[in-house]
């Protein structure tokens, strides 16, 4: 956004302070449109924002909620392991090979699906469905690290996509029969007489009611009701009648011979349930906890609409409080959003594996939340390390940074002595005797796999198809000041302060002078000018402001 435009807008009547329910309509403008498109989707682009302002708020919200792209359902491959009899006929080596091949094929399916899923987010089709699917994955967590067969992860994602804008009650019922979740939370081992409480506890604490709305006794009894729910050899849901506890159970104030369906029904009827879900959705999309009054209103609404999600989201996106000053541009983007948003704002066809690998490096591996609570959102995403890595990934997408520069350890002397810190003799010795990179610390695990994926994409010859010069010209920018303003407007969701602008103009002016060009004539510089613009974009995308939307 143009900072000048902002000063003007600040004087216009906008949403009331605080998030108290209010009938005051908002004055729909570019800021609001950008906010809605960012939060209900990913990385709003300039043309999109302009179109949204034109269409008006109600139409935009309608389109987000109702418009659907035609997407073929994904084919899920079930493991085709040879039968026990076939295996017996093989010798040990052959058996190992067969098993390795099955594992390899399974791993490939997960990678391909991850790529497909990142591609869906980047496409901008069904933005709200994609956004809500990502949200639900942080609620109904299952990790591909623990759920070993990818078909179950795929199946869970399909369930989430089916209900992402559907009905929370149906989603909950589905999840209590979802193979990935049943495996992830050990319900395979939850048997009559030998209850395993894991699923029951997380169901109440994280999937439906929240801490403080149930007792330890409720957990124990619900665990009994969930006995027998498991998974068969094809990775499909199966109910083991013999393992189900048919005795009487008492939980959440009810008594009866309950099974898993009863659990869903009784949990959904709890007053805490719509409240918990309303709070999760609102705080995710607004980036802040709602006030008590507003939560009361939304919880009651969710109950009255029988957990239907579309009316709930429509109400939220039409609510002036959703556009209040404290919410606009004040949310730290999560890693997947950051990578997808980056790619979209740059207008790149980024290989989906780059998006996935980048998000993994930043702490959010798709289909692998760190624990059953999912990902901590907001400021928790930003550490000293991840903030610099976000800049590095932006540089990678812009083609000004190479992946090897990021993981190389031998740049300590050359690049940083310039900063005025002279390494001591002892350090120089240490640097000279340094071991090869792969012997050094920590280049393992998910981080390393992500780096390798990035290197593979780079080695495959991918390079960003960018033409900032043309883009700036199209936007009517030619002077240093105009170019910086246009770049900030294109790439950031929030305005940058005056000193940032000044500094970036200074940078651009210097680089332009070095190319021997006068202000207003940068585009005569050809490829050299384009590289300067990319470096400028890199600096912009490494700003604190670039983390927000």
């Amino acid at each position: 956004m143009n900072p000048l435009l902002f000063t003007l807008l600040a004087t216009l009547p906008l949403a009331p302070q605080g998030d108290a329910p209010s009938q005051t309509a908002i004055h729909w403008d570019a800021r609001h449109a950008e906010h809605l498109l960012n939060r209900a989707g990913f990385g709003a682009r300039r043309a999109q924002i302009e179109a949204a302002v034109e269409k008006g708020m109600a139409t935009c919200v309608d389109e987000l909620i109702e418009k659907r792209a035609d997407v073929d359902p994904v084919l899920i491959q079930r493991p085709e392991e040879p039968s026990k009899r076939e295996m017996r006929e093989l010798d040990a080596d052959q058996r190992r090979n067969v098993q390795r091949e099955v594992r390899e094929r399974d791993r490939r399916q997960l990678l391909e699906y991850t790529a497909w899923s990142m591609g869906r987010m980047q496409s901008g089709e069904d933005p709200l469905e994609e956004r809500m699917a990502l949200f639900w994955h942080g609620v109904f967590t299952s990790s591909s690290d623990r759920v070993e067969r990818s078909c179950m992860i795929l199946q869970q994602d399909q369930l989430i996509r089916d209900q992402a804008l559907g009905n929370y009650g149906k989603l909950l019922e589905g999840m209590l029969k979802d193979p990935a979740l049943l495996v992830y939370l050990d319900n395979q081992a939850n048997r009559k007489g030998k209850p395993n409480e894991n699923l029951a506890r997380e169901l109440l604490e994280l999937f439906s009611l929240g801490v403080g709305n149930y007792t330890e006794a409720d957990i124990k009894e619900i665990a009994r009701a969930l006995t027998g729910r498991g998974v068969d050899g094809h990775g499909l849901y199966s109910f083991n009648k013999g393992a189900h506890d048919t005795g009487e159970k008492t939980f959440l104030g009810q008594k009866g011979n309950f099974d898993g369906d009863d659990v869903a029904r009784i949990v959904l009827a709890q007053p805490a349930c719509p409240r918990y879900i309303a709070r999760r959705i609102i705080s995710y999309l607004e980036g802040q906890e709602p006030s008590k009054e507003r939560l009361d209103e939304y919880a009651a609404f969710l109950r009255a609409s029988d957990f239907e999600l579309k009316p709930f989201l429509r109400k939220l996106f039409l609510d002036p409080a959703f556009y209040r000053e404290d919410v606009l541009g004040a949310r730290v983007q999560g890693p997947i959003e950051f990578m997808v948003g980056l790619s979209r704002r740059l207008g790149l066809e980024t290989p989906p594996m780059v998006v996935a690998a980048g998000a993994s490096l930043l702490g959010q591996r798709p289909f692998a939340p760190p624990n059953v609570k999912g990902w901590d959102e907001g400021e928790a995403w930003i550490t000293t390390s991840s903030l610099m890595q976000r800049g590095n990934l932006a540089g990678l997408l812009l083609g000004v940074v190479q992946i090897d520069d990021v993981i190389r350890a031998d740049d300590i002397e050359m690049s940083d002595t310039a900063a005025g810190d002279d390494p001591t003799m002892k350090e120089r010795d240490a640097l000279r005797t340094r071991k090869p990179l792969d012997k050094q610390a920590g280049l393992k695990g998910a981080g390393s796999a992500a780096y390798q994926a990035l290197r593979r994409v780079q080695d495959s010859g991918w390079a960003p198809n960018l033409n900032f010069s043309a883009r700036m010209q199209r936007a009517g920018a030619s002077t240093d000041a105009q170019i910086v303003a246009s770049m900030l407007d294109d790439l950031l969701a929030v305005p940058a302060p005056a000193d940032t602008l000044e500094r970036l103009e200074l940078f651009l002016g210097n680089e332009r002078t070095l190319l021997g060009l006068r202000d207003g004539h940068l585009f005569d510089g050809g490829y050299g000018a384009e590289m300067v613009l990319r470096r400028l974009a890199h600096l912009v995308l490494s700003l604190p402001e670039a983390q927000l939307d």
């Binding site: 004040a330 540089g395 350090e427 940058a496």
Partner: protein, 422 residues
């Protein structure tokens, strides 16, 4: 895509560019008064006058460690009768006395015990135990029975009490992915990284790096309170990142350990911890994490692997630093959000429980047993009762190790324990 074919005469003009930029930035700095917002801290190596730069290494065992399989009451019928599939029997256990013993994988820790460098604090928990991983972890991390309510973590509060505001940005370091809430601090935000080598912002030209260093120092942008607050936080993080990036990478590159650290994540994070301690860059708390302790199902192989990793990592680390000057000033404290139920469950695993021992290591630690072992028969809902409030362990670290006032951190005075000499 390195800019190979940018005009080659540009390459020779590096000095001019830098001078140009430096002159420009200088002029901007004069024009903007906002520069004063940068935090001032003692430069690296400024610890010469610090007689006792003590460090705490806080090890979080995530998932709820079945501590009855770590410090095993092998001679207690209350253990042997209710643990069948996952029992660690008298033959397997490394006996410490006629009642308890260490898990068979904890071979290096056993040697540290023999050298009196290891303390076991029995039956640690807190009043009104909570069996949710997250709630219970929050209670341990905040040392507050209400968990996270917006304040700092206990390490953050301790650092407020023990260290001045102008301490090095590296005062608190978490080596790993997401930092645990224990180290959350507003005045001393933690430095967080997984691998030291990639702890940097990369750009094709030095000028870009100069510019980047300035971008945390800008005057507040943002038009709403909410946006201002987030931006202020992000700017602080960016400044800390810029300040610490080179020092951290140097510390790691320079470090020459005295032992071989196994090539696995937990051990490697501890190698980085040793490097930071050795480099003396002002780090006072290092946080690391070992996960994998949520063992509801078929526990034995999974928990055995956790014990092996714990032993491999801590063993290497302590053998590396004990006996060095820097190593004398290190204490290691291990905790988990809860122990597990005494009786094993129906699937050769254990469900969430309550009390468990905490382990403390260090050359200056007075090895041995502290507190009372909870009864295995007088249970509370099938769980071990607390015999030591974990706040006593924290209090001991705060008061005796860091010489700070407990009450400022814990809002109360807890009895200190003898594992640190007064």
């Amino acid at each position: 895509m390195k800019n190979e074919d940018t005009n080659s005469d540009e390459r020779g003009s590096g000095l001019d560019r830098r001078q140009l930029l430096a002159a420009g930035l200088g002029a901007l700095a004069l024009a903007n008064s906002a520069q004063a917002r940068i935090r001032v801290f003692a430069p690296a190596g400024g610890e010469a006058g610090d007689a006792q730069p003590r460090t705490l290494v806080l090890v979080q065992l995530s998932g709820g460690n079945d501590a009855l399989s770590m410090v095993v009451p092998w001679a207690d019928d209350g253990y042997n009768k209710v643990r069948d599939a996952i029992r660690i029997g008298a033959k397997e256990v490394q006996k410490l006395d006629d009642y308890r013993g260490l898990h068979p994988e904890l071979k290096q820790l056993r040697k540290l015990w023999d050298k009196r460098h290891m303390a076991i604090v029995e039956g640690c928990s807190y009043p009104t135990p909570n069996r949710s991983h997250f709630k219970s972890m929050e209670i341990w991390q905040t040392a507050s029975l209400s968990g996270r309510t917006g304040g700092d973590g206990w390490i953050g509060r301790m650092c407020d009490a023990a260290f001045p505001e102008g301490a090095a940005p590296e005062l608190i370091v978490h080596v790993g992915g997401a930092a645990p809430y224990s180290v959350f601090s507003r005045t001393h935000p933690a430095i967080v990284f997984q691998t030291p080598y990639s702890y940097k912002w990369v750009a094709p030209e030095d000028e870009d790096r100069e510019l980047y260093k300035e971008s945390g120092k800008d005057d507040m942008g943002g038009e709403s309170k909410g946006q201002k607050r987030v931006l202020e936080h992000l700017r602080g993080v960016l400044n800390d990142a810029n300040e610490s990036s080179l020092r951290i990478r140097r510390a790691a590159a320079e470090y020459d350990p005295r032992v071989e650290y196994p090539a696995e994540d937990f051990a490697q994070t501890l190698k980085v911890a040793a490097a930071l301690i050795d480099a003396r860059i002002g780090t006072r708390v290092i946080s690391v994490e070992l996960g994998g302790f949520d063992t509801h199902n078929n526990q034995r192989p999974a928990h055995d692997a956790c014990m092996r990793r714990l032993d491999a990592g801590l063993g290497a680390f302590l053998n590396d630093i004990i006996g060095t000057q820097a190593g004398r000033d290190v204490i290691v404290v291990c905790f988990s959000e809860f122990g597990r139920r005494v009786k094993e469950n129906g699937s050769r695993g254990t469900d969430h429980g309550v009390a468990a021992p905490m382990l403390v290591f260090g050359e200056q630690v007075k090895g041995g047993l502290y507190g009372e072992h909870p009864s295995l028969t007088d249970l509370m809902d099938g769980d071990l009762r607390m015999t030591t409030d974990f706040s006593s362990v924290y209090g001991t670290v705060i008061e005796k190790w860091f010489k700070a006032e407990q009450e400022k951190v814990l809002d109360a005075q807890y009895p200190t324990l003898g594992f640190v000499e007064a």
